[in-house]
Symmetry: C2
């Protein structure tokens, strides 16, 4: 059995997301992993789920997919703000609690502090940065909120963050992350 | 034993976060719950954690706190963008995977779609909204990315989203969420 990896990310919001997922799965396959997309049908989906609204079915299906995997490969590229997509981060926390290995990648290399300073009107005071709402800006030199690299490191996973010319269409950084996953699974 | 609830939220970034956490814990106590703050010391923290950098210690401690609780009460108020704080959302996913009941609240009532349209230069095409990067805008009429209300509903929890005059200093909506948690625990 090849290890199963859940392909989390806002990639599901791209046009033609199934074709995109197929490309990511092909890369997984080439490296000896089975990529599981949030868009995949679920084997043996409980019949009563059909009575739930679509969004509930999607949420339940994604959780079930994660439970069936040994690892998660998450697209943590900043999404509509300084941080990663919250749907993806929910899944990273979910996977971490289940003991999956967590791998993440981003096509933006700038660290969290720089991205947050750019997105908020933060000011420096007493050696710390405070945003326009008077909330502290985390400055541990990390890639995103500390829970995310914390989960990755604790799980024995890996994070790759590098600039790509096309933030949402690059697959080279994803492929390097898949390769890192393969080495550790 | 009173039920233990983990108090997730970007409240840790407020000035004097310990005093703020004490206020939230007092509200929990008044409703028969033990509030557990991310800032609390951990009983029996493993000695070797002292060798990790501070941010790793915080991440490990937060995960350990969540494991010790029966529920999570998460401040899901939009934070530096259309969605909730990713550190909080990581913890919601983590708690959900462990089977905790998930409660959430927000001091902003506007739905996710309206917030996202306001934050991105989205355009309508073929009956859907697409942001300035050409990514689909989720439009299920929910409060945030579907994984979050999905986890809340599946866990048997509850979500309260209402406008407050002071987004980060209101405790009335938090208290209503605590009361809802008490009824279900």
């Amino acid at each position: 059995m090849t290890p199963r990896v859940y392909l989390a990310g806002p990639d599901v919001f791209l046009p033609e997301p199934e074709a995109w997922a197929a490309r990511k799965k092909a890369i997984c396959g080439a490296h000896g992993l089975t990529g599981v997309s949030p868009l995949d049908a679920l084997d043996d989906e409980p019949h009563h789920w059909a009575g739930f609204p679509l969004w509930r079915q999607i949420a339940m299906r994604n959780e079930a997919h994660i439970r069936s995997c040994q690892a998660i490969v998450a697209n943590l590229t900043p999404f509509r703000g300084p941080s990663a997509d919250v749907g993806t981060v929910y899944e990273v926390g979910f996977a971490r609690a289940l003991g999956l290995k967590v791998f993440g990648y981003s096509t933006v290399a700038a660290p969290f502090l720089a991205r947050t300073l750019e997105a908020t009107e933060a000011v420096e005071r007493d050696g710390a940065w405070w945003d326009c709402d008077g909330m502290l800006v985390e400055s541990f030199g990390l890639f995103d909120n500390l829970m995310i690299p914390g989960g990755i490191d604790d799980s024995g996973g890996h994070l790759i963050a590098e600039d790509a010319a096309d933030r949402w269409r690059d697959l080279a950084i994803f492929e390097r992350c898949v390769r890192a996953a393969r080495e550790k699974l």
